[in-house]
Symmetry: none
Subunit: 263 residues, 2 copies
């Protein structure tokens, strides 16, 4: 594809264009699958699967918007803007503000803990997640609020991130002992996936910090990095939640296991 843009080479334009389209397809059809497959787990795990589908659904909406925003900003076939400032970074942050707290709810919901323990975990994880995103935005978008430097906003948003890790690795571990060995293994995979993918965001953030104007290579690396991280953190994460829900359903109910599995 030829973009006729003055800001990105054809190859750079195509990479971002196709990555955003991959984002749309991944989010949209993970949603499709999870909605239709929700009855393949016991009722007590269906909310966890539906929250996963809501997360990928919200992300699908934002990827459609980002795809259009990218074309509008960089393709002279679609408006002839050639103006990087037209590309709206805000979509990613609005998306994360809604989806990151929901991702933490998925983990808690799929464990089917006591209602008291569940509510105590959520009361700490959800506000911390929202705070992390809100503090990260002014740094990434380079907004001048109260004269605070981007790097300081980045550092501030690390505090709730570390608190979330503490709750997931120390507090949550206490309730894991009651789960089966198979479920414990999957939950540990889930936590590692979360750290590995969430780690991409601050790295992309730091990359972007070193420049003042528009640097094409950095822009491409950041969009690709964010998109891959989003697909792993939402689609793969949601499918892992589904497979934990299915494993726990089979453990909870022998009749269900016989209907759904051969062995």
């Amino acid at each position: 594809m030829n973009n006729l843009s003055e800001l990105l080479t054809d190859t750079q334009f195509n990479i971002v264009f196709n990555m955003l389209s991959l984002g749309i397809a991944s989010m949209l059809f993970t949603t499709f699958f999870l909605v239709l497959a929700r009855d393949r787990v016991l009722p007590r795990y269906r909310l966890a699967v539906l929250i996963s589908a809501t997360v990928t659904g919200i992300a699908a909406y934002h990827y459609f918007r980002m795809f259009d925003s990218f074309n509008h900003a960089f393709s002279s076939l679609d408006g002839a803007m050639n103006n990087a400032a037209v590309y709206n970074v805000g979509y990613r942050y609005v998306d994360w503000l809604l989806t990151v707290p929901l991702l933490l709810m998925e983990i808690v919901a799929v464990l089917a803990l006591t209602r008291q323990l569940q509510s105590s975990l959520l009361k700490r994880l959800v506000p911390a997640a929202a705070l992390m995103i809100v503090l990260g935005y002014p740094g990434d978008a380079k907004l001048d609020i109260w004269g605070i430097a981007p790097s300081v906003w980045g550092l501030l948003s690390t505090i709730p991130f570390l608190y979330i890790l503490y709750v997931l690795f120390i507090e949550l571990s206490k309730s894991l002992v009651r789960q089966s060995a198979g479920v414990q293994k999957k939950i540990k995979q889930l936590r590692l996936l979360l750290i590995a993918t969430w780690g991409v965001y601050p790295i992309a953030f730091i990359f972007a910090m070193n420049s003042d104007g528009f640097v094409a290579d950095q822009f491409v690396a950041r969009e690709v990095g964010y998109t891959i991280a989003d697909i792993l953190a939402k689609c793969l994460f949601g499918l892992l939640i589904f497979s934990i829900a299915r494993m726990k359903s089979a453990e909870d109910d022998a009749e269900f296991a016989k209907t759904e599995f051969r062995d």
Copy 2:
């Protein structure tokens, strides 16, 4: 319809235009049918049917995009570009990257093997399928990566393809002995369909390799070949999966057989 394009004759334009529309209709309504027909098989086969529907759904999205991209590139009624480079080859590869691993999951899921055997097969088939597509793209799109020639990328992507054939024909055959004669026959049809249709892609690839610029005849042959192969490998394949699931459901459960069939 008259395209007023300088790159394709009216006939050539109409052939590709109508093939892409056939692609949309086939993918969209195979998805529609499989989603609505999923309850006509036993619960343990429903995930296989849902994965088939997800595959055709993802392909429907990409055929809509390709149809628009084709019009944008070749029809002067729709932007007057007359620029073959505007047609985005990336959509096909993004589609295959998502759907080819899922097609292999369909076969494994419909056999309702033990969970251990299933996971061992998928751990080998899914990464091999993704690798095959990723290695094929730079060759087909003629990207200059590390100065490696397109034909070399094509050859490299043949290695995971042969590995997939080995797993499907040697490893999977061991587990086929436990299936009924009717199911064995259908699975063998499925494998042949897979080889026959996947064989179209490297042939189209080799055709495209011999030219540097845009050759209208080759372009048309490739788009027609890819579209027919896609319809067979996804729609026909998915419907065969559905019919295997129905056959196995009737074998597993006499009550189900009585409700669903006359004999």
